[in-house]
């Protein structure tokens, strides 16, 4: 082993890529550890695909360098990199059989025919596609093509496997199943994965760590729960999951957290796990919908009283989703607040109805205070 498990295995240092006047990737630095699944998450045009293509060698960085396992790869052509890629379209060669497709990479290494056949057989076994070797790509279903593409990219045992929207082309049922299979294979082979996706759910379940990209920059790196529970900016909070965001002003700044008044919200927010913002600063409070409790007005708490982390409103819309329900509540301040509630009981006796007055509250640890 050349590097300790925690040290950077893939190192992207200050990489930028410009296409004419357009900056697709803007001074990105990233460290990726050996054996992890790192997800690059971002909307279209965020630069995630360009970054991936630079790692594969299809684009050359305008500035900066890319190292893998201590080797500078910034200017190495794709066919000399120990990196393989699974394309979004799978890019299976239509004129070659599954076996030929998977064996193509090994052929380029001038391996003997027997060695190629053995290795192709092994990897097809792993992706559960033994017996399909003679088929042509158009004779396969979408899920089968995905597995052949995976096998083709893995058969050379690359130091790094790049996956471009690996599940995007599959239907919902197949996606879930494939997701776990992908994790399974990754653990079995120990290859480092970088996954590009625009689907937050996919990123959260696949990734050991995520990098969120926006406008060519990495805006936050962390574990899925880091990013969901402690977003670093309004963009990240809003991009991943849904969130209620309110502008406010810091009125107290103590050891037990921040106190924020918000005219939009119409109450004082006490955020226990927040610090650093100065008195009087303008900030944004982010509260996830599932962290808000909802109860009938009058049942508990004083209706209309100025309380911390407690606000009154009227239910305007209810969307029943089966496992949970979404409530849209118009606060007395006029703003809308979104609350989700799991449907714990089957056929609750008297559920909250539209136009009912409700009280909304949350725990002091729930609000996240954002300055940008």
């Amino acid at each position: 082993m050349a590097s300790a498990p925690d040290a950077a295995y893939v190192r992207v240092s200050d990489v930028s890529k410009k296409f004419g006047d357009f900056t697709a990737v803007d001074h990105v630095s990233l460290d990726i550890r050996r054996g992890e699944i790192f997800c690059l998450l971002g909307g279209s045009g965020s630069g995630k695909t360009t970054l991936l293509r630079m790692l594969a060698g299809f684009e050359t960085p305008t500035t900066g360098r890319i190292e893998i396992d201590g080797q500078d790869l910034s200017h190495v052509p794709p066919y000399e990199r120990p990196v393989n890629m699974m394309f979004q379209s799978y890019a299976l060669f239509p004129h070659m059989s599954v076996e030929k497709n998977v064996g193509f990479g090994l052929e380029q290494e001038h391996l003997g025919r027997d060695a190629i056949r053995r290795q192709v057989g092994e990897i097809l076994e792993i992706v559960k596609m033994s017996g399909y070797g003679a088929r042509k790509p158009h004779q396969l279903s979408g899920g089968q093509r995905q597995r052949v593409a995976l096998a083709r990219a893995l058969v050379k045992r690359p130091k790094l496997l790049l996956l471009d929207e690996p599940l995007a082309a599959l239907d919902r049922k197949l996606r879930e199943h494939t997701q776990f299979e992908l994790l399974n294979i990754q653990q079995r082979l120990g290859v480092t994965f970088i996954v590009v996706t625009h689907d937050q759910e996919e990123a959260m379940t696949l990734g050991t760590r995520l990098g969120v990209m926006n406008h060519g920059r990495i805006v936050q790196v962390g574990t899925p729960s880091d990013i969901y529970e402690s977003p670093a900016s309004r963009f990240v909070a809003d991009f991943i999951g849904s969130v209620n965001l309110f502008e406010g002003r810091v009125v107290a700044n103590g050891a037990d957290g921040l106190c924020i008044t918000s005219a939009d919200l119409g109450c004082t927010v006490r955020a226990e796990r927040a610090a650093g913002s100065e008195h009087g600063a303008t900030v944004w409070t982010a509260i996830r919908p599932e962290k808000i409790q909802i109860s009938r007005a009058g049942a508990g708490g004083a209706d209309g009283a100025q309380n911390e982390n407690l606000v009154a409103g009227t239910v305007k819309e209810i969307a029943y989703m089966g496992d949970m329900s979404i409530y849209l509540v118009r606060l007395d301040s006029g703003s809308m607040l979104r609350v989700t509630l799991p449907n714990v009981l089957r056929g609750a006796e008297r559920p909250i109805a539209r136009e009912e007055r409700v009280m909304l509250s949350w725990h002091g640890s729930s609000p996240v205070v954002l300055t940008e």
């Binding site: 594969a56 052509p77 794709p78 393989n84 890019a91 060669f93 239509p94 396969l140």
Partner: protein, 282 residues
Amino acid sequence: MKPQGLLTRIALALGLVFLYVPIVSMIVFSFNNSRLVTVWDAAHSPTLKWYGVLLHNEQILTAAWLSIRIALTAASAAVVLGTLAGVALARLGAFRGRLLLAGMVTAPIVMPEVITGLSLLLLFVALGQLIGWPKGVGAVTIALAHITFCMAYVTVVVQSRLAGFDESLEEAAMDLGARPLKVFFRITLPLILPAIASGWLLAFTLSWDDLVITQFVAGPGSSTLPMVVFSKVRFGVTPDVNALATILVLLVATGIAISTVWMGYQQRRRERDLQLAAAANL
């Protein structure tokens, strides 16, 4: 059947009659005994007389042989040049001179033939004066001219076929360790082979059929088949030309019929495979 559907179907049927009446009449009269082409000599027809006359016409046979040789040369060279141009336009991205190449490639398709012919002859004359080559016009200059206008068609066919293929196929091959030249021969070339084949056939037909450009760049002693036919029919209808037309139509029709049947078979096989794959998914 809705009335408007019926109307367009009638129009289609009439249109097809319009397209085929002249061809059928040539075929029918090729078996006519009479010298007066359009008067059916019922007493002595049908006859293969004119086919015999045709096959003993030295001039037509020589011209046909020349036309075949030129068409083979022109189609083969045009396929090479046109494939290069098609690959350059579809795959090299924004290179210097792209606009120039793109413009020059489609221009011969839309350029009136008389202008192409005139300009090429003037070039050959100027070159002959300047560097002493070509010495005169003939088979070589005809072939050069045909290559030039045929390559334009091949380029368009190859380019649009390449445009229909995801470039990630070539990237995938490169990602798996194949160098650019190998990528071309293992991936790109097999994929565009159908386009190259149809481009070749198209080029062959265009070269074989061309009259106007050829007239400009041909010299004495290098008459192609269309030139001989043109000089014959300019002064009236001759029955052996009917026989020639019949032979050509039959050749082309068999070729096209075979390829249509074959493509239909491929299509059906493909559909069956897709059904199999879908069934495997359940």
